[in-house]
Symmetry: C2
Subunit: 163 residues, 2 copies
């Protein structure tokens, strides 16, 4: 699969994030590890992914600091992949994207998986809000301004702005 | 770029979502349109993306119902892309992924872009919470159970479960 110019150089945290996780298989591999399927073989069987692609994805997730590999000593088959703190911090992203899939890519049978609160068992309804005010963040409420890491030369003339 | 088996058939809303948006360029194209860069030429210039790839991405986003194309009558150069409701509903996903990039892919200069509340100008700190309780949703708080659309045959033997 051709990889284009690295997004890492772009002056945008979304682009940088996509440079690490922006590929079809990546988030599904993270899902698998989160669900406790930690070995190459288990992931290959569940995802139906080609051996070389899975191998490639696992290597880039380890290189990107999302997964860490714990070796099984002399038994290579016992290698296990675990989420790092950086990887665990992707789970809320998965959750929000999964809910988008529930809403917009329903095959007519409803959500395959329901998220629950691990302590109470209550169904969770994920929402993206501002931590300070609790106000929902959506396309209609966001403005943007340059942050400390903004490099004007990396951006073209201002667009109309979010709308 | 080789496209593998469609994720749409997988019994998982995350996989189905990735089937629509799970590619390097897709979310950046959504970002551009959200920022008001609506023409092919503007997007190509800002993203530095090859003409054929951008063309391909725009076509699949239109086919996937994320973008709609409004034609400029007889002047093809005036074609504009707009977010549909489904596309606008991706903005919270972008926001959460961007914040992950702010945290984990900082080049040392801080966030390039700061999100603000469009009404008050106050800086936004996006969080993923349960709508009912306001409790933060993260890797440590989630449980899962089969939903109405669950098809046991599409899933392998239960894994250890989220942890």
């Amino acid at each position: 699969m051709t990889k284009r110019t690295s997004f890492a150089a772009m002056n945008c945290s979304l682009a940088r994030a996509l440079d690490v996780v922006g590929e079809w298989w990546t988030l599904l591999v993270v899902r698998e590890v989160y669900f406790g399927r930690r070995s190459f073989t288990e992931m290959r069987d569940t995802l139906g992914i080609a051996r070389n692609i899975l191998s490639d994805r696992l290597a880039s997730l380890v290189a990107g600091g999302v997964l860490e590999r714990r070796t099984g000593g002399s038994d290579l088959r016992r290698n296990e992949y675990h989420l790092t703190a950086k990887g665990r911090d992707l789970i809320p992203v998965l959750v929000v994207l999964m809910r988008w899939g529930d809403r917009w890519e329903d095959d007519g049978t409803g959500p395959p998986i329901v998220l629950t609160d691990r302590d109470t068992g209550a169904e969770l309804e994920p929402a993206v809000v501002d931590a300070a005010t609790g106000r929902e963040i959506d396309a209609g409420t966001i403005g943007v301004r340059p942050g400390p890491g903004f490099r004007p030369e990396a951006w073209p003339a201002p667009a109309a702005g979010p709308r």
